[in-house]
């Protein structure tokens, strides 16, 4: 069995295989201020009177925090009122991005099945969990029943041998893989990541990897547990030696160079070398992909005591309040502010185009986020390049896209 087949089999108490249609209990669900309001409406329309288990349901205010207008303020109010009534935990504005908060607060653990109303829910595959994204009505149904129907996915195995070079990060690796598999390369399927390149990764880096399986259309993306360290005891799930994979990809990544996704799709990936010299107006570091402590530390290191180029703005949204505190404790935030960065409220920040840093017409953004679709950051006339936090920070200093460690 693959990891997905094993986790699902463990949950329904019988042996399943790829292609089976199952109804499975879940270990947790969450929704955000983009998806929870519609889910709350659907939950009520379904005639539900109570959550299946208030301790396993979390609502997170992260996509538009603090609220930029009365419309969104009222949606936040709806979520607070619902949480008050039903007894689930509400993570209020500034506590962080849903995926970071779910991992920090241990709402999801190795071997779990977790359903989130956000497409980047597969992020928890970093923890060796089976986690998939759904929309609001599916989420409402799971809030009510504690179950979800799904087709057990086929699995693509990606094995990466070799260690990443100094200055090449998990983001560069996952961008490379998205470029190789393309934006539809894993639709309806799970991905398993195995090999030395992943074994040596921190939890944060594993989250960056699993996060962007959404950009390949995958249902889940699970990193093999070898080398996974958590501050609580856990039982991990490994595939059987005779597990059946739909496809196997093998890459030696020891020579991988920093990568970039150019407009207007996350799978338009090439070595960053090819776009070196592209002038930028705006640099952004944050999001569920790259807003963690190690990302901010990599940015501070890349800035290396210099000031950002005049005329460039540099926004940083830490992934959570804990990340912000940690980055203050070790002086990372001071280094970044001294370089000219603006620190904004922990949350999704400008990634979703709702507020807090919409680019102007014809402006060029270099971002550590995971999506660069047209209009993603709120202006269809701006262009977004995706890169690692170190590449973003170094480009902010240079005023143009650069190859770090040149």
């Amino acid at each position: 069995m693959t990891i997905s087949e094993k986790i699902i089999s463990n949950h329904i108490g019988k042996h399943v295989k790829a292609g089976d249609l199952v109804i499975t209990p879940v270990d947790g669900v969450m929704a955000t201020d983009t998806t929870a309001p519609l889910a709350i409406k659907a939950f009520e329309q379904m005639g539900a009177s109570a959550l299946f288990d208030p301790n396993k349901v979390a609502l997170i205010l992260d996509h538009a925090v603090p609220p930029p207008n009365e419309r969104i303020a009222n949606l936040h109010k709806l979520m607070r009122d619902f949480s008050q009534t039903h007894g689930n935990r509400l993570f209020d504005i500034g506590q962080g991005i849903c995926h970071q908060v779910m991992v920090e607060h241990q709402y999801v653990k190795p071997g779990d099945i977790f359903i989130g109303a956000d497409s980047h829910t597969p992020t928890y595959g970093a923890l060796n969990a089976f986690a998939c994204g759904v929309g609001s009505t599916d989420l409402a149904a799971t809030m009510m029943t504690g179950q979800i129907w799904l087709k057990v996915p086929k699995t693509i195995l990606i094995e990466c041998t070799g260690r990443l070079k100094e200055g090449v990060s998990a983001k560069d690796l996952i961008l490379f893989l998205v470029g190789e598999l393309t934006i539809s390369g894993a639709t309806y399927q799970a991905i398993e990541f195995v090999g030395e390149a992943f074994q040596t990764m921190t939890l944060a880096s594993r989250m960056t990897v699993a996060n962007m399986v959404a950009e390949m259309g995958a249902k889940a993306g699970i990193v093999h547990p070898d080398g996974l360290e958590l501050d609580y005891p856990f039982q991990s799930v490994v595939p059987d030696v005779d597990a059946v994979y739909e496809k196997v990809f093998r890459f030696d990544v020891s020579d991988l160079e920093p990568q970039v996704a150019v407009p207007e799709s996350p799978d338009n990936v090439r070595p960053i070398q090819e776009v070196v010299g592209t002038k930028i107006n705006y640099a952004f570091i944050g999001t569920c992909c790259n807003g963690r402590l190690e990302d901010l530390q990599a940015a501070a290191k890349a800035v290396d005591g210099k000031r950002i180029k005049s005329g460039v703005r540099f926004l940083i949204a830490p992934a959570s309040q804990q990340t912000l505190l940690d980055a203050m404790d070790d002086g990372t935030i001071q280094l970044l502010i001294n370089a000219g960065a603006s620190i904004i409220t922990p949350g999704c920040g400008p990634c979703v185009g709702t507020h807090q840093g919409v680019p102007g017409d014809d402006e060029i953004v270099i971002s550590a986020a995971n999506r660069n679709f047209r209009g993603r950051m709120g202006n269809p006339n701006a262009q977004i390049y995706l890169a690692s936090p170190a590449s973003v920070a170094a480009s902010a200093v240079a005023g143009e896209i650069v190859l770090i460690n040149e």
């Binding site: 249609l21 309001p37 497409s119 009505t137 639709t187 309806y188 709702t354």
Partner: protein, 160 residues
């Protein structure tokens, strides 16, 4: 009217993130497909059909994408295939979706279709297609008019 678009139409193009934070479905319909085809939201009418290539609805899990299309009057989306969350969302909110892997339907085509059996006739090209059948549970959800009605009736999921 039949509108035809290409591959990998993402949900940011179907409904930009800046408009998604609302419970007012009319607002969604007012901006549907805005960054892909600014004329679409002005001209789309009740009963129109959207046709696309591969991986329609990739990206965000926002259910506002199929809701915006439905509210704007779109009666059916045909694609070579769909991104999985969009596909589930569409069925859950009662927007008809048909997967036809080999279609060559062109803009303005004269289509006749039957959602019951998934048969689509392109009268402009004289071609007939059979959509990929839905799994039984999705058919049940669609036949109840969406997941809200399904759960109102059954109180839980039921397999076969």
């Amino acid at each position: 009217m039949v509108y035809v678009y290409g591959d990998n139409i993402d949900t940011d193009r179907i409904i930009p993130g800046k408009y998604t934070k609302t419970l007012d479905l009319e607002t969604l319909a007012d901006h549907v497909m805005e960054d892909l085809d600014p004329m679409f939201c002005k001209s789309v009418k009740q009963g129109d059909v959207v046709v696309a290539g591969y991986n329609f609805g990739c990206g965000s899990s926002r259910e506002q994408a199929p809701l915006a299309l439905k509210q704007a009057g779109v009666a059916l989306v045909i694609a070579k295939d769909f991104a999985r969350i969009f596909f589930r969302n569409a069925i859950n909110i009662g927007l008809a979706v048909l997967e036809i892997g080999d279609h060559t339907i062109e803009h303005g085509a004269d289509l006749v279709y039957n959602l019951e059996d998934g048969k689509v006739i392109d009268q402009s090209q004289g071609k007939e297609y059979n959509a990929t059948p839905l799994p039984d549970i999705m058919l049940d959800i669609l036949n109840e008019g969406g997941l809200v009605n399904y759960l109102n009736k059954h109180k839980n999921y039921q397999l076969g």
